[in-house]
Amino acid sequence: MEAYVGEYASGKSEVAVNRALMLSRAGRRVTLVDLDIVEPCYTLRPIKKELTAAGIQVLAWETRDTVGLGETGNVLRAENRWALKRPGDIILDIGYGVEGSRTLNLLEGASEDPDLKVVAVINTSRPMTGSVREIVDYVRQLGRVDMLLNNTHLGDETTAETVQEGARFVAGAAESLGVPVLATAAVEEVAAVIGFEDCVGNPVWPIKRYMPHTLW
């Protein structure tokens, strides 16, 4: 059970989608939950069908079920509130917001669930999390965070160096925060260059980019 939190546009949804697919391909039963309630765009809604076809249970809005998307589209689906009660692996994609992981309060049973891990996704190419100090400050105000994940990239311009530099910053921040690093995520081409472990010894998750197709 993993909840992905982090800064606006840090790649939470991308990592959550890839993680769900990774687990599903390993034969596990996976539910992916859209808990983005600030942003009506770049959410799972547009790729819900594709992910469902890949065998994942997706709890997200259908565009036709919403009214005035963006004016009132940031509403929480009733089903999502009970997501943690579902069997199998649960991947939560949590939107940004001034109180970060407090969004977990909206889920029944989140506070007492021993299996839940809150993972902060960090892209050090984002101006607010560009250095160790900034990452530490940012993660501290998110509330509960159990692990960090390095998702440093520059879109199409990402190189292995970009990702490795991020890995070093994230590792530094994790040390100050006293939490482990779950992994480094990188697009397949870049991941192949880096290998199975990044420069600080954390596992590399090769990912595909789905979210660029999900604008609105």
Binding site: Y8, A9, E39, P40, C41, Y42, G68, L69, G70, E71, N123, S125, R126, P127, M128, G130, H153, L154, G155, D156, E157, P212, L215, W216
Partner: protein
């Protein structure tokens, strides 16, 4: 003194709204006034997070009428003031903008266009072109930059503050919901380190000294008694605006003077147009493009030149002919036939543009 928000040059991966907030900081903006409306909210979200760190200010007003008029007030006090809005908010903003136009007040307004008419969609559109360029009662004496990439959002937001304070006309950065929310990388920099001077601001009221004793009082109005008085004011505005137009106007073009067909578009749509035109040129088609960066004032001379040399112009926009009205007006009497590709409130892909070009060239 708080340190500068951006030092040196660095590549970042960002959303368009964030870029605007950082660019406003880099441009030396002092205060933002705003009211929540999608798709510009994150400009406020990021400005409110960043502003206190650099000694800057923010006021959330009761509506966009107030956001516009408080921006006017900020400028009168000599502060670099800006606001951001969209759609119905832009409609309300037209009253304060027309005051700024009448009184030469350098307010900066960022528009992230959404669908219309009415509340419509928050997603994307290019349907605020008419309102942004010539809205309000008056003559549209404004500078309007229509951006296409995050790099341009950064560059032109900085430029907007400079142009506003240099020329003293209200200045707009015209983006859209796609640009607002889209993620891509760009280089952020400190403009002064890059040799871009920051035009200083200056108070209209509250200057040192006793008015009437040490200095003449600063008194400004926008109301006149007789037609002749107003006529003189508007003539002066028109003369000044026309005088700066050649210096302010910006455009981008590819083989526009040497192609049978020239595709005209602005903003984010010009990305699709460039892609389609480049692809078809490689295949040997006689096609070029013309992209006005400033929608107001337009690069009229260059546009007319292209419109006189081409057989046809294809006008592509996510509106029902709002950019086309500006283009046709500027190109009046030119020989090119004007062909529309309008998709109000919808995105337009390179494939659609390419298909249309092929059908025209046969």
């Amino acid at each position: 003194m708080p340190e500068k928000p951006i030092k040196g040059e660095k590549r970042y991966f960002m959303t368009g709204n964030e870029v605007v907030a950082y660019a406003a900081l880099a441009a030396g903006a002092d205060i933002m006034y705003g009211y929540p409306i999608t798709p510009q909210n994150e400009i406020m979200h990021y400005w409110t997070r960043l502003a206190p760190r650099y000694g800057k200010d923010f006021l959330q007003t009761e509506d966009e009428l107030s956001a516009g008029f408080t921006t006017v007030g900020g400028v009168l006090a000599g502060k670099k003031s800006f606001t951001a809005t969209a759609g119905p908010g832009n409609t309300l903003m037209q009253e304060p903008v027309s005051m700024a136009e009448a009184m030469r007040l350098p307010i900066v307004v960022v528009i992230q266009q959404r669908g219309g008419p009415s509340t419509a969609t928050v997603i994307y559109s290019q349907q605020e072109v008419t309102m942004t360029t010539i809205g309000g009662n008056g003559e549209g004496f404004r500078i309007v930059y229509s951006t296409a990439t995050h790099q341009e959002l950064f560059d032109y937001t900085i430029k907007a503050f400079n142009a506003a304070w240099k020329y003293r006309f209200p200045t707009f950065v015209l983006g859209d919901g796609y640009q607002a929310k889209m993620r891509e990388s760009l280089t952020m920099y400190d403009p002064e380190e890059k040799g871009i001077p920051i035009v200083p601001s200056e108070p209209y009221v509250g200057k040192p000294g006793v008015p009437g004793v040490d200095r003449p009082p600063g008194q400004y109005r926008n109301t006149y008694n007789v037609e002749e008085e107003l006529y003189e004011v508007v003539e002066n505005l028109a003369r000044d605006f026309n005088a700066i137009a050649p210096e302010v106007a910006e455009y981008e073009s590819l083989e526009a003077g040497r192609s049978d067909l020239v595709v005209v578009s602005h903003g984010v749509i010009s990305r699709a147009v460039k892609e389609a035109v480049s692809e078809l040129r490689e295949a040997g088609a006689s096609v070029g493009y013309f992209r006005p960066v400033t929608l107001r004032p337009l690069a009229e001379k260059e546009l007319r030149d292209a419109a006189n040399k081409a057989k046809a112009m294809l006008l592509v926009e996510s509106a029902n002919g709002q950019m086309a009205r500006l283009i046709k007006d500027a190109a009046y009497g030119c020989k090119a036939e004007m062909i529309p590709l309008y998709k109000p409130g919808m995105g337009i892909t390179a494939e659609e543009v390419a298909a249309k070009i092929r059908s025209i060239l046969g």
